[in-house]
Symmetry: C2
Subunit: 169 residues, 2 copies
């Protein structure tokens, strides 16, 4: 199993680190992709190594896309490659898990129309404008899409994200 995390400087540290460690616990390989191949720094000062630039990513190589929050999504949503990668996951119905400000990338990618989802409360308005059915719940699962609101939702977020990776019964 191979996971792709897309983020940038000023990520919400726990929203990147918890999924990263949790998927490693599950035995997953993980690439962290960003605009440049540098170390990126979270709002709380944690640093992680970027293993690939967005340009280097072939989304077909990955089983799941993780979009952490913080201020990073505001930068990432301006990157055409990040939007194309997101659309590819939706096109192939592969799991996408986005938390807090992470769904901003999906809003810009235009993949949320008619989809049930949640996000950080300040993002709710633009999520509705993008045609999504916003729900104020700790985790919302709609097909391939898993979304949560904030760090305190991480336990439910990762429970559903791991479930999304299991073969359907």
């Amino acid at each position: 199993m191979k996971a792709l995390i897309i983020s940038a400087d000023n990520f919400e540290d726990s929203e990147l680190l918890f999924p990263y460690y949790r998927l490693k616990e599950e035995g997953s390989e993980i690439d962290i992709a960003s605009i440049k191949k540098v170390r990126i720094k979270g709002k709380h000062g944690y640093e992680v190594e970027v293993s690939k630039t967005l340009k280097e990513i072939n989304p077909d190589d990955y089983d799941i896309l993780i979009l952490p929050g913080g201020k990073a999504p505001e930068a990432i949503r301006k990157e055409k490659e990040a939007l194309d990668i997101s659309r590819s996951f939706f096109g192939r119905n592969k799991p996408v898990a986005a938390i807090c400000h992470g769904p901003q990338i999906l809003i810009t990618a235009g993949v949320l129309k008619g989809r049930h989802a949640t996000c950080y409360k300040s993002v709710a308005e633009e999520m509705r404008e993008a045609g999504a059915v916003y729900e104020d719940k700790e985790v919302v699962v709609d097909g391939n899409l898993v979304t949560s609101r904030q760090p305190s939702d991480l336990p439910s977020f990762m429970r559903e994200t791991i479930l999304a990776l299991k073969p359907k019964k």
Copy 2:
């Protein structure tokens, strides 16, 4: 299932938050105990609410003890109640999971003699002096005791910690 985390100010944020979220994901109830019932702050600025003082803890109420690292264990090891709680878990052979500087509490409690364990590299010497068999591995499991060295070991640490909670076959 009920878990007890003992920590204090200047905890290593990810070493408290990852086990906390991971055990919540598993459906566990969790108490965070410290010297006073206040909010404690990690080295990276994350804050968590202390639900009980050490004095209020009856170790028989819990299935597992988690000891995160950072500078917190240096303060906690001076607290008689924390040492008594640790000894109670060992006396009843219940899981104890300690990472980084967390094992310092177990060193002072005198429960590591003859036990295989690991810890942050700067703690290795005093761990050996306490009679433990120190191993430089990402996770060491010896009976009820699960230990790891540092944040990057968290995936293995929690994989083994969760296993330690499952009924033995």
